[in-house]
């Protein structure tokens, strides 16, 4: 199969692997902070952010889309939290109400302006990573300029760098907040700031992954590799490394799967991530059973 890889496939795999890595890194913090559901919610509501940003500015450029998505992402997090506090609703119920509303409005806008926006309902769901190589950026004009590669690749590349830099710079704080939220408070770390900072990273990752995997499949990449890592790791650093490793393995397995079955690449990547998680769980269950048997053997 490797011999059949063309330039387009290389771009697709490179983009997918950056999407998966960025999502895995951000996802680790979502899992540790028990905010898997807010990640789900944000990845749904960014659709509205993108559509609104496009309708308001009439531009399809990355900064505009990022800004729209981040604003809506933060709004989702803030509204869910406010509804939880002021309306005295359970927090998952508040999250559910906010994101379903935002997503519904997003879908309605997409079907209203379907002719004008280069978004359709399918792209909302599973993106179209196969088309990624055809939407490229030219430096210095379309005719004479040089093709520097797909737009989606550069988008997720930039976001990946931002995520990486944030984790490197804020490592100590993020670690304290993730494992000892109370200690973080007493140390004077601004927990609220870091909460919204994380939500910003989630929104950015989601929107940059939009072309590649769509809004909903990004949840799989946010939550599943990080969960696998959560089962195996015993430190934040290890968890981040394992999550990234799992995400890259999912990309490779998923791409081959899609190639063999002629199915959607991004869906196959997400499915592979799930299969890897279930294999990990099965292995751990077996290990647990073996340990139990050994214990029984020893005590007898």
């Amino acid at each position: 199969m490797l011999s059949e890889l063309g330039m387009n496939d290389v771009w697709i795999i490179a983009t997918a692997s950056l999407v998966a890595a960025a999502s895995a890194l951000v996802g680790v913090f979502l899992i540790l902070r028990k905010q898997a559901l807010i990640g789900d919610a944000i990845s749904h509501s960014v659709l509205l952010g993108i559509v609104l940003a496009f309708l308001l500015t009439d531009s399809h450029s990355l900064p505009v889309m990022l800004a729209g998505a981040v604003l809506i992402g933060l709004l989702t997090a803030w509204l869910s939290d406010t509804l939880h506090r002021v309306g005295k609703l359970q927090s998952d119920a508040s999250i559910g109400i906010v994101f379903t509303l935002f997503f519904a409005i997003g879908v309605i806008l997409v079907s209203l302006y379907a002719g004008q926006i280069d978004l359709d309902q399918e792209c909302v769901l599973y993106g179209e990573i196969a088309f990624v190589p055809f939407d490229t950026i030219y430096i210095g004009g379309l005719e004479s300029g040089t093709d520097i590669g797909p737009r989606a690749f550069w988008a997720i590349g930039i976001v990946f760098m931002i995520v990486l830099a944030s984790i490197l710079l804020g490592f100590k704080r993020l670690e304290t907040i993730a494992f000892h939220p109370n200690l973080a408070l007493s140390l004077g770390i601004n927990v609220v700031f870091w909460h919204y900072f994380l939500m910003t990273l989630v929104s950015m990752t989601t929107v940059a992954s939009f072309d590649a995997v769509g809004a909903i499949l990004v949840v799989a990449l946010l939550v599943i590799p990080a969960s696998s890592a959560y089962l195996l790791a015993n430190s934040l650093k290890a968890m981040l490394w394992i999550a990234v490793a799992y995400s890259q393995a999912s990309v490779i397995i998923g791409y081959s799967l899609a190639f063999t079955l002629d199915s959607s690449i991004s869906a196959s990547i997400a499915v592979s991530a799930g299969i890897l998680l279930f294999i990990t769980i099965a292995a751990l269950q077996v290990q647990k059973a073996v340990m139990r048997l050994k214990k029984v053997a020893v005590t007898n």
């Binding site: 789900d40 939550v223 799930g274």
Partner: protein, 449 residues
């Protein structure tokens, strides 16, 4: 822009009329179907909400997708019953997984939900794209279940939906008392020997069924809202489960009517998102204006209480001033009051004015004095304040310095019977921890005399 041309102002009314005359029989079918779905999903969603699993509907709806695709792959038909069974089967596996993961691994419940949801959804999409690449008949329209399109439903679909919805409503009505007990007090239900597990399985089955039949109408992604939003809205109106269920069923039906009309008038508009938007609007209205627990009501109550506290504080300060002045002075001005209680002049003036209007105080050239009824109220408040201080001092072992602030809060809300009870429990009901006398009930002049 096609959607807009259908929404020309002149035709809206005609369109509405045409809708309600049911010139198109299919419209009637879809309307009845959506109302039944709206009602049954809201009722069953209520129990998920009460069990603090509001987003289970979201996960189950996503989990249904691979089942539908599998059923189609295996049987190559779009028969509603086959689709239904496939969806129900995979939803049920999803339900089991959400339950199993947190119990047997380190994974937390919220992550288990997100994992199940995204994995099954991805699996469903993978199968969908695989099917679309295959050369089989009947495959078009499978993707409709992602967003739901009521108009695409056949009469068979709607008939099945109707049966399921009615089954759900009847089952909930039959087992209402048991389900209520489990929802509110599971442990107690177990102790009295109820087969809790069996009822929970029943509930799971009903949730799965309503999610699965709702998919075609509302779509996978938004099904969660139909289960969750009505009960969340109903909760602001009443605390009684039966009322909440009836109300959320009404809200569900209402949103169904609104959304079917909208997508009838503009066929390009998907039904599901409009159902969610209308539900959300009903939710926001409930949140703000519900008479029992709405925000507006709470805001007004809070404001009234603050005003009451401000008035009562001034009254008690006046009482204290009278008490301290052994000379026969009864009139006090702003600065006298502010010397004892720090209160911004503006608020003080406003409060004094209200107190005058209520004839609890009267103003004279030298300042303000308590009227008879004002003195009564002030005495009673002082009595409650000091009794409570005393109580805290004797029974909660707080020092005299600590008790004052606590009592400041409680004096405004103590009732007569609580006051009597307090007095009965105190050894010393004559003076407070600071040494001030506690005015006895007898010193009250009784207002009218």
């Amino acid at each position: 822009m096609e959607a807009f041309t259908l929404l020309q102002p002149t035709s809206i009314w005609d369109n509405l009329l045409a809708f309600w005359r049911f010139e198109d029989m299919n419209v009637l079918w879809v309307l009845v179907g959506s109302i039944l779905l709206g009602m049954s999903a809201s009722v069953i969603g209520a129990f998920a909400f009460l069990r603090k699993r509001s987003l289970i509907g979201d996960a189950l709806a996503h989990a249904a997708l691979p089942g539908v695709m599998m059923a189609f792959l295996l049987f190559q038909t779009r028969d509603p019953l086959v689709m239904f069974l496939g969806a129900a089967g995979s939803s049920f596996i999803g339900f089991f997984l959400i339950d199993w993961l947190p119990k047997n691994t380190k994974i937390k419940p919220d992550a288990a939900l997100a994992i199940t949801l995204s994995f099954f959804f991805a699996l469903g999409l993978m199968l969908l794209s695989y099917i679309q690449g295959l050369n089989v008949e009947n495959k078009s329209g499978l993707d409709k279940i992602l967003f739901g399109q009521a108009a695409a439903m056949t009469q068979d679909d709607i008939r099945l939906l109707g049966y399921v919805a009615i089954t759900i409503l009847i089952t909930v009505a039959l087992f209402f008392h048991k389900l209520r007990l489990i929802a509110f007090n599971r442990t107690y239900a177990i102790t009295i020997g109820m087969a809790v597990n069996r009822y929970e399985l029943l509930l799971a089955l009903l949730i799965v069924m309503s999610v699965v039949v709702g998919l075609q109408l509302v779509g996978v992604v938004l099904m969660a809202a139909v289960l969750l939003t009505p009960i969340a809205a109903a909760r602001f109106w009443s605390g009684e489960l039966s009322h909440m269920l009836i109300l959320s069923a009404i809200l569900g039906a209402l949103s169904a009517i609104i959304s079917t009309q909208i997508s009838y008038m503009a066929p390009a508009m998907p039904t599901g998102p409009w159902m969610v938007v209308s539900l959300s609007i009903l939710f926001i209205l409930s949140l703000l204006f519900a008479p029992q627990k709405g925000l507006l009501k709470r805001f007004l109550e809070h404001k009234l209480l603050r005003q009451k506290v401000a008035e009562e504080n001034i009254l008690r300060t006046l009482y204290k001033l009278v008490e301290r002045n052994k000379v026969d002075q009864l009139d006090f001005n702003h600065s006298d009051i502010q010397a004892l209680r720090s209160v911004p002049t503006e608020i003080l003036q406003k409060t004094l004015k209200t107190l005058c209007r209520k004839q609890l105080i009267e103003s004279s050239s030298k300042g303000f004095r308590l009227t008879k009824s004002g003195l009564d109220l002030a005495t009673q408040l002082t009595r409650r304040h000091r009794l409570w201080e005393n109580y805290l001092n004797e029974h909660a072992e707080l020092t005299p310095e600590q008790v004052h602030n606590q009592a400041e809060r409680i004096e405004h809300i103590l009732t007569d019977s609580q006051e009597k009870q307090l007095q009965a429990e105190l050894e010393n009901a004559d003076s407070d921890p600071h040494g001030n006398p506690i005015p006895s009930q007898a010193t009250l002049t009784g207002g009218k005399s």
